[in-house]
């Protein structure tokens, strides 16, 4: 469990990136921080591994104040996946995956063997192990980035817009892959994105942020869609328009779903199930 307690961050240039932010991030679930630029989402993420230290307030991981932990040691215990993979261009794929275990003193042979197994986990061919990152496609690099993030088997995985720079088809693949991995591994994932669709797809808990890290709404995707807390949230998630505002029309004796632009969105395949909100596109 990660807890933000009244955290504020003012940068030296005077910008107040985060103002009095409190949040509990449950273990073994995916929490997505979603907001436009300036919402402080990346700053919040980077506070968890002390890349950024708060000006005031405290962050606790499993009831330990992280300000009391040594930053380098803390970072080596938390998985981190960033946009553009952040791989070391001068190291082969297998060595990139083995990076953090090697820093923690795992013997080279063990670290490499584990790294090869992790390539399987993220769905990469072991034949790619001896290539350099520049020889891989964007999607492959991102998978290596995920493998590196998992290499020390961390409880916490921080993901900073990891799929932001790949094309939509590859992004959809990577998202499905992450959902599959998360079902198997059950990490505490904190995921940052500006894409509401991505947030709703991946998040068990979605946190919608306004500028200055103000929380506009927290909830499951279904909660937020069904009951947007205010006009900002409704407009941000698009609950009032486009492909999210669906209505039923009758066509040839069957019900079809149509979005507010008049586009056919899908068909209704069953009756409402209590406690579940799923629409098949």
């Amino acid at each position: 469990m990660i807890e933000f307690r009244s955290v504020s961050k003012q940068f030296p240039d005077g910008t107040l990136a985060v103002d009095d932010f409190s949040l509990t991030i449950p273990s073994h679930r995916t929490t997505v921080l979603v907001g436009s630029s300036g919402s402080g989402k990346t700053t919040l993420l980077r506070m968890i591994n002390r890349m950024v230290d708060p000006t005031s307030g405290a962050i606790e991981i499993d009831d330990v104040d992280i300000a009391s932990l040594e930053p380098v040691k803390l970072r080596r215990s938390i998985g981190y996946v960033m946009q553009n993979s952040g791989l070391l261009p001068h190291r082969k794929v297998v060595d990139n995956v083995a990076t953090v275990p090697l820093l923690r003193g795992v013997p080279r042979k063990t670290a490499r063997a584990d790294a090869l197994a992790l390539l399987d986990t993220v769905g990469l061919d072991r034949a790619l192990a001896d290539r350099y990152p520049s020889q891989l496609s964007g999607g492959q690099q991102q998978r290596v980035g995920v493998a590196r993030g998992l290499a020390v088997n961390p409880n916490i995985l921080l993901m900073d817009e990891p799929f932001g720079a790949v094309d939509p088809i590859v992004r959809a693949e990577l998202q499905q892959e992450l959902i599959r991995l998360q079902t198997e591994l059950g990490k505490t994932v904190v995921f940052v994105t500006h894409d509401v669709d991505e947030a709703f797809l991946l998040g068990d808990q979605v946190v919608i942020l306004q500028e200055g890290g103000r929380i506009a709404q927290i909830g499951s995707p279904a909660d937020i869609l069904a009951n947007p807390a205010n006009d900002f949230v409704a407009s941000f998630v698009g609950a009032d328009r486009g492909k999210r505002a669906l209505h039923v029309e009758r066509s040839d004796g069957r019900d079809v779903l149509v979005d507010s632009d008049g586009r056919l969105a899908g068909v209704l395949v069953g009756d409402a199930v209590p406690g579940q909100a799923r629409v098949t596109p």
Binding site: R75, G86, R91
Partner: protein, 220 residues
């Protein structure tokens, strides 16, 4: 050419002398420039001071340097050590800026990600910044190597034996072939060291050779 064939032993000996005078300064200037260049790159204040000071070193004329050095470091006027120190100073003057620029050339995203996964300042320098600055450092080191080999000939004037001795001797005794042999041998030696550095770079920086290779098209 006849002179060269009959005096191969002499040319060989002077070449060895020349190597002994020029290789240590090349290595020393790199080693000394590393921390200075790192400091220059790390803090804005130190950048101005270190780069200006090291730049000024290069402006010291070589003859006064040879004369002042013995008094400063306590060597004798004719000691080859003077030359090694002087060449090291010129090498450092060139190399500090190269190191600072090389470290500055490392992709910020890569450095940030290295810090994020848990590299300390120390491991980040040795395992990330230094190798990634490699191509720039190598380019600078090649300039230092060639210029050091060329400058080392000046040592002949103050009595340090080198390929430069072939110029001074040939000039005094009027043997034109000896002067030409000295020049050719100096150029060949410079090319040899340059080639050695390029070869070392190919071994030490393998990833720089595979730019522009085709992307691997397997399932992502």
């Amino acid at each position: 050419m006849n002179w060269a064939w009959t005096n191969l032993d002499l040319i060989w000996d002077r070449t060895i002398d020349h190597l002994i005078l020029s290789v240590p300064p090349i290595i020393l200037s790199f080693v000394i420039a590393l921390p200075l260049g790192w400091l220059a790159n790390r803090y804005r204040l130190s950048r101005g001071v270190i780069l200006t000071a090291s730049g000024l070193l290069y402006a010291i004329p070589s003859f006064p340097m040879f004369i002042v050095l013995p008094a400063l470091v306590g060597t004798t006027l004719r000691s080859p050590l003077n030359l090694v120190i002087a060449l090291t100073i010129y090498g450092v003057a060139l190399m500090v800026r190269v190191v600072a620029d090389g470290l500055a050339s490392v992709d910020v995203d890569v450095q940030r990600s290295a810090v994020a996964v848990g590299f300390s300042t120390w491991t980040n320098f040795w395992q990330v910044e230094l190798p990634l600055a490699g191509p720039v450092l190598l380019a600078g080191l090649r300039v230092v190597a060639v210029s050091t080999v060329s400058l080392a000939t000046v040592g002949a004037v103050i009595g340090a034996q080198s390929l430069g001795s072939l110029f001074t001797d040939g000039f005094q005794r009027g043997i034109q072939a000896e002067i030409i042999a000295g020049i050719v041998a100096t150029v060949l030696l410079a090319l040899l060291l340059d080639g050695a550095l390029v070869a070392a770079g190919r071994i030490a920086l393998p990833w720089t050779r595979l730019r522009k290779t085709s992307k691997v098209e397997t399932a992502t």
